[in-house]
């Protein structure tokens, strides 16, 4: 019974995170200026990381955690590089 509650909550969480991913993707495609697109991309990275964590909880698999960690690091580096590019016009000075 409680496992059914947990399974339902995990399924709901996956659907909600995929919807959030779709909304962030809409903002990334429609963003009026470049900083909106970068913000949408960063939100997509964080949502994908949370989705990986939730999928790993549903499977009982610890290896999804490492994928989530890699996605978090790549999202940080991507957003910092894009913000520096928007500010300066070049990444490495």
């Amino acid at each position: 019974m409680t496992a059914d509650i947990l399974r339902f909550a995990l399924g709901y969480a996956q659907i909600a995170l995929i919807l959030a991913l779709a909304l962030a993707c809409w903002r990334m495609l429609r963003g009026p200026r470049a900083q909106d697109r970068v913000l949408g991309l960063d939100t997509m990275y964080i949502n994908a990381m949370l989705l990986f964590l939730v999928i790993g909880m549903g499977n009982g698999n610890v290896f999804f955690f490492e994928g989530a960690l890699v996605i978090a690091v790549l999202g940080f580096v991507t957003t910092v590089c894009a913000a520096k590019f928007l500010m300066r016009g070049e990444v490495i000075e």
């Binding site: 947990l6 909600a16 995170l17 949370l50 955690f65």
Partner: protein
């Protein structure tokens, strides 16, 4: 799915509650990212997912794996600390870039790379010279 049946009922309910609330807050951040009007308002919306969503889902994951593997599992704290450190840095840099781009747009050159002077400090040098 045998590891889900091994949990005691209180832990299953707490994990389900945390995961559902965290995913709902992340979804609300996504809705705010779509519906708010200006960029500086939209910059605040997805931080709901960055802070509360990450915190609640990480707590639920730690509780679930600690109880199902019968040992304390704390490696999810690494993601939490990393997100807690890096989110202010990224959003601060993005906000500064947006401020600079908006200021340059008011000066009349949108989407043009601003010139970079090595002699003066760059932020002061950009504001001083009048653009045609």
């Amino acid at each position: 799915m045998t590891h889900l049946e091994q949990l005691p009922p209180w832990a299953a309910i707490i994990v389900a509650l945390f995961v559902a609330i965290g995913a709902t807050l992340t979804l609300l951040g996504g809705v705010g990212l779509v519906r708010l009007k200006s960029f500086y308002q939209r910059l605040h919306a997805p931080t709901l997912g960055y802070s509360y969503g990450t915190l609640l889902i990480i707590l639920a994951s730690m509780l679930l794996f600690s109880l199902s593997e019968k040992r304390p599992v704390v490696h999810e704290l690494m993601i939490g600390i990393f997100i807690m450190i890096t989110t202010p840095i990224t959003l601060l840099m993005l906000g500064r870039a947006a401020l600079r781009r908006d200021r340059d747009r008011k000066l009349g050159h949108d989407e043009v790379v601003p010139p970079r002077n090595r002699a003066e400090p760059p932020t002061e040098a950009e504001t001083e010279d009048p653009q045609p």
